[in-house]
Amino acid sequence: MNPSSSDRPPPGRVRGASSSGAWLTMVAAGLLAFAPALEAQDTGTITGTITSARSGQPLASVQVFLPQTDRGTLTSADGRFNIPNLAPGEYQLQAQRLGYREATETVTVAAGETTTIDLELASQALRLDDIVVTGTAGQARQREVGNAITQINMGEVRDVVPSVDQLLQGRSPGLGVSQATGSVGSAAQIRLRGAVSVSQSNQPIIYIDGVRVRSEPYERNRPSVGFTGRSANVTPGPLADIDPGDIDRVEVLKGAAATTLYGTEASAGVIQIFTRRGASGDAQWTAQIDQGANRLRPFALDENPFLNMDPFLRTGHTQRYALSVSGGGESLQYFVSGSLTDNKGVLPLDREERTTVRGNFTFSPLDRLTLSWNSQYTRNDIRQTPSGNNAHGLTLNAFRAERNYFGLSDPDSVALTLNQEIDTWIDRFVTGGTAEFQASETFLHRLTVGFDQANQENRNLRPFGFRMAPEGILSDARIQNSILSVDYVTNYGYEFSPDFITTISAGAQSVTNEELMTEAYGEIFPGPGVPTVNAAGERLGFEDRLRVTNAGFFGQVMFNMRDRYFVTLGTRVDGNTAFGEDLGLQAYPKISTSYVISDEDFWPMGWGDWKLRAAWGQAGRAPGAFDAVRTWDPVGYGGLPAFFPLNVGNPDLGPERTSELELGFDASLLSDRVSTEFTYYRQTTSDALFSVRMPASIGFSLSQQENVGTIRNQGIELNVNAALYEGVNWGLDGGLNLYTNQSEVIDLGGAVPFAAGGGWVEVGEPVMAARGWRLTNPDAVGEEPQWEANHIYGPRQPTHTIGGSLALRLPGGMELSGRGEFQGGHYIFDGASNQAYQRNIRWPTCGQAVYDLIDEGQIDGLTGWQRGHCIQANYQTGSTYYPADFFKLRDITFRAPIDFAVPGANNASLSMSLRNWFRWRNDEFLMFDPEMIGRESTEQMPSIAEHIPPPAQFIASVRVTF
């Protein structure tokens, strides 16, 4: 379950210092970076550089070790390594790295001398011996794992990545990342293999270095009283707190077959981020400067491409400065980093300033004991422009022109909306310690304790004199969210014979999530100035507290036969505070098998490496904290206490349970020039939690969570990477991935069809389908519009995604690469146009000429579509569903080494990326962007409110290692 420290060489004896606090230790580590390593005169040192055989570029995080001594290290960012204090003699030096074939070299060490040896690692198409951690009982080799695991290694990412969201976007089939909106602090939505729940979150859970961290977006900055849309209507995401420069790799598990050991909260998948670690040797400093610009691309019709937003848009400057140092001795290694990011958005008030500090330390006080401690602090200051479905906001009033809430379209009037302040400040501290104890050669214990605390302040001010609230309104919310996780895993190996080995694993985990929220609200201020709530004529206070604990244990047995047949059996057992009192513990079994068929004698040498795999497993999703209990809501009425009926309650309420079957293979072809991964998956969520609607006449709540439904997702994932051409100075790599997803509601368990998550849930239809009115005669001229009620348009999530990449390697180490992505088969709801049509707003899709005809009563020549949408009385609310097929050029990137320009640097490079500049969308979808999703509600599906789309971005980055 935890990230293993054992994918690096075994630790040596204690040499480092202990610490008593995160900051002290991080400072101490910085000082250590300058301290020369102690070296005895009667020993020698091996040093050198590891580079990629294909590109010649240095490789970081390569495990370099001497098997006969238990000594080793990791290469630094410039590919260098250093192993000191070696007794004179001959050694086998081995180098291993994910994605590369192992290299071995014999090295002779002489007393008092330094032996330099440089190695090249050849890339490996099929990485059967790579170590993976996530979803395994500790760790496993790829060959042992029966399910698909996506690995994204930062060393292989070609483009400049400004955020973790964009690191994940378009990298793997089945991993969907929607860009949300054009406001800063707008978290992308992540989905793995579609939606497995219609009532609970479909956001994957997130781990950083084995520590469970927040996965849900932060609280939206909105006032405590009144319409909650007085906001930017977007939410920052927790992934934004992680500096991408700190990341070493990411592992992604997409379905229940792989996430069983995470139990009740993992049915939507797991993302684990591994941050960089130090390596023994001299301090290595890395500095990076990013400079760039955000610019909005046209998103409406040609005659009004920015939908009246032109006077307010700007080219937003984005910049990032990062510095890190890593190194250490034999017993203590460190990685310390810091970064400053200043990102100005395209909207006039939008700005995000982020500071991150990270310290990762590995300490080996005993031969059998390794301690690691990783900590991160992030401060994120976000100021946003009021936007979205916000009548006090900029975008809505600009879009609607003279029929906005001012009744005026001139920019000066609309700009009055900017006289408000929407500020979000987030302080986040994530720390985790892992102790790994090798009790015997076959018996390993690992304990990880993690803590993630985020303190968020949302301040939302419409000051005295604000046009639409002249007396002023101030709301200030303080939210503290903490997650305490404890994770214990043990492994025990037993060898029946060299061809039959068993590994028994067990473990227990606990995750406690607490959220405290206090809000102060005030309105009616005495006059201009910067107020506090204290100054308000009317003041209100609010408080919420919530604690949810999930805990469980697991057991797993893996059988290894001849290192090519693997069978793994396991079960996870969980309890959760949100379960009904009569439910008890829940068990989630799994079984998987893999077969490295290419290791068989009969396998022809020229057919490459092949692994066949199959996995079946279950994972769950817990109900909400209060769903199982019959409760009343203390709402108050005026100054009096008052109760409302809240929840009917269900003592048998339990988690929804997703079972998944995965079948697939991994293969390398054509002498390792082509790698292929193929997976068929079929997920069935039974006992699905549905908000079963109840008649209002019974007087209680309108719905109650029940474990009654069954939904299904199935599809394929195909990933092909190929070295299309390899020359001495030139090369061309290509990649293609394909993902399909067909979802269907199988059973409602007697419940009547219902709306959920922004879609419609009905047997035989896609999960959370697009449903609404449909115009049946859009092209008919001279006819009244004919509307069909409750039409099911289709799925709200893409049914097929195709991604492609090309990378052209040029002489001198330069490279030009690009990635594109097509998504299609789904529908999006355009809420902004829907609101405009029903309010008789002069909307560009109709055009002034049509409105003039309507005003003159000359409608005979109008089409059914024009009559249905441009004549207000004919319009049917909720009919603006459009095909959401699109293609986007995710990035075009140029990279070049610039060592010559930075004297004294070990390595220097320049990268320039242009992101999301080009977009194609379905011809029927006339305005906005098909990936948009606001946070006006808890909708889980992309839909359009009065937001601007995400902007395109250009970033140039210089990275220097010395």
Binding site: D7, P67, R403, Y492, A506, S510, P641, P695, Q872, T877
Partner: protein
Amino acid sequence: MITKIRIFKRTSSVLRGLGMLVLAIFIGLQLTACDFDVVNPGPVQDDFLNDPDAHEPLVAGATRLLMQGLNFNAYTGAAVTRELFPAGSTSAHGITLLQQRGLLVWDDEHVTWTNHQRARAVAEEGLERFQGVDGVDFMNYGPAARMALVAGYAGRVLGENYCQAVINGGGEEPREVFLERGEGFFDLAIEIGQNTGQSDVVTAAYAGRAQTRANLGNWAGALSDADQVPPDFVHQVEHNTISDAQYNRIYWAGANQPYRAHSVWNTVIEDYYTETGDPRTPWGMDENIPFGDAAVDRVGQVPWYFQLKYPSRDANRNLASGREMDLLRAEAALIEGNWQTAMDYINGLREGLVSDHDGEPIPLWEANSLEEAWTHLKRERYIELWLEGRRLNDLRRWQEDNRPGELSPLEVPGDASFLDQNQTLCYPIPEQERETNPNIPDTPSG
């Protein structure tokens, strides 16, 4: 192989592995030390409400639900009957396209039904709960009188506004079932109110029962109850500024903060107030903000004349008043054909009112026939009960009973009002109830 867990050796027994597994689970459980009996603060468990200390909050909750229902009902009803004219917004703080045309359809928003039904059910369930609590002398229990009053008014409001009745997930019944049920709870409120000395509750129950009995055609009973209500008595639901659900919706949707969803333009009140200055129907305008917040079909941008009967978010709304009792008396007299007596009651309400414009008494109505008197009664109820959520029921019952007298062209279907010919005068059972209640058809009959 560089990972330690893969250094395998034979051991003496596999039992060691099994022992390790048990040990691991034990240690793990100790480490995680879980407490699955978390009680989160916030929502209150049902059993707690059996404590008599929680009964007043239960009454307050039911009362708030009644207020919330009436808040929506009064606004939507005002739009459909043209007590107000739509001026733009159509969503959460506005008037839907169909309502703008005077239509209440069966799949319309169910928020009004939900709030009223919850008020009724919570009040009725609360009375049952009180009866079952040890130590509570139900017929001498103060909270029971107030809860019964809420149940009574919930029945009256539901019966006045809905085309059919549904009780507690049961079948479809005539709307009178709501009224009869409400009448029974008014009986209870009067009895317990008298037992407990709560004269305000007793008077409010008489006023509500008078309204209810009039709706049921029991005019003698209505007049008897009306006689128990002093002329200056007012019973209201209260609004406040604590949350938007508790704001007076008619004020808030037209307060230019930012909504200007409705207007007095092109309603009876526009000219009436201009001509008379009747303080019961005030409205205003702002030259700097000439139009509503969007536009309306066939009209375009609507001149924004804002009502001033409710001048703030916390302006309360009448449920019943002593003045309305005079209107009941007038209507009862008209039904008896005694139009002169009716006019006395009608003009009696107008006497003593002075114009907002010039401080002069507002004019009295003159009638020379029964039909003219009916016209005056219909208009006077519009004026007296403006924006109180009563016009929809008045128009429906007069139409059903084929009462004489004229209505203004501005409130009946036609080009002047921009109302559809099939204007709806009662709320149908909403789609939410039909789809979830197995005892009624999924779609309305006919």
